[in-house]
């Protein structure tokens, strides 16, 4: 780890308030971006996509269940990977962490 300057509480507070201003900018920018995301136009899905699920084959419309909104997480697991997902640093494992969180959420 980089060596850090050790300062008094008062000096720390000055530096922390400077960072807080930047953090607030990021929060407000995220709010603005979230609003722009909601305002994006939509594209009608014309194809009928079919998926295999534990409950049998389903179309994209059926993946919604009884709800009107669907988020699909595109999980990187290609055919033939199951026996050999890269254990070394690689993109497939990037999404394990969210899925670990989701599994506790759901």
């Amino acid at each position: 780890m980089e060596p850090h300057q050790i300062v008094s509480r008062e000096e720390w507070l000055v530096a922390r308030r400077r960072l807080l201003a930047r953090e607030k900018e990021a929060t407000h920018l995220r709010d603005a971006i979230n609003a722009e995301r909601l305002a994006l136009p939509w594209v009608k899905v014309e194809k009928t996509y079919r998926f295999d699920t534990l409950e049998g084959p389903k179309t994209l419309a059926q993946l919604f269940g009884p709800r009107s909104q669907l988020i699909v997480y595109h999980f990187m697991l290609g055919p033939g990977w199951a026996a050999g997902c890269p254990a070394a640093p690689s993109w497939p494992i990037t999404w394990m962490a969210p899925c670990r969180i989701w599994s506790t959420m759901m």
């Binding site: 993946l63 033939g80 070394a88």
Partner: protein, 150 residues
């Protein structure tokens, strides 16, 4: 809102992996569907052998791509049953979904990584991981890139 994972692996392979990881979220297979290709997260060998692949709304050199890449897509369904694509995000775009990263960002050493998320291991691959039960698969050897891109 419904949240589901989708992968191009056949369902039996997804299930084997899900069991190993003890995950319980919904996870569908798009194996015989164009879905992954249409939403730009899977790439055919012919795409990867070409001049560029389209990922994250831009043309990437095939060397920077893979046969599978991550992303997130959102859809809306109306009362008539019509489905609309409302949003997609790729690469580091959905990073805020990884709550672990947001926690690490506030730790003294931050993510402490030298490449994006290269510190992440599967739960059974850490040195102090508990012994896996008899019915769990052992961690597999990583395949060679040639095999994965075959």
């Amino acid at each position: 809102m419904t949240l589901t994972a989708v992968s191009r692996a056949p369902l039996a392979e997804i299930e084997a992996y899900r069991k190993r990881m003890s995950w319980r979220f919904p996870w569908a297979s798009s194996f015989e569907s164009e879905f992954n290709f249409d939403f730009h997260v899977s790439f055919r060998a012919t795409d990867l052998a070409g001049e560029s692949v389209f990922y994250n709304f831009t043309d990437l050199e095939p060397e920077q791509a893979n046969d599978e890449l991550p992303g997130l897509s959102a859809f809306s369904r109306n009362e008539a049953g019509e489905v609309f694509h409302t949003y997609s995000s790729y690469a580091r775009g959905p990073e805020e979904l990884v709550g672990t990263l947001m926690i690490l960002d506030r730790a003294p050493k931050g993510r402490n990584e030298d490449a994006t998320m290269n510190f992440v291991r599967r739960h059974d691959e850490y040195e102090d991981a508990p012994n896996t039960s008899a019915c769990s698969a052992r961690p597999a050897q990583p395949p060679s890139p040639e095999t994965r891109n075959a």
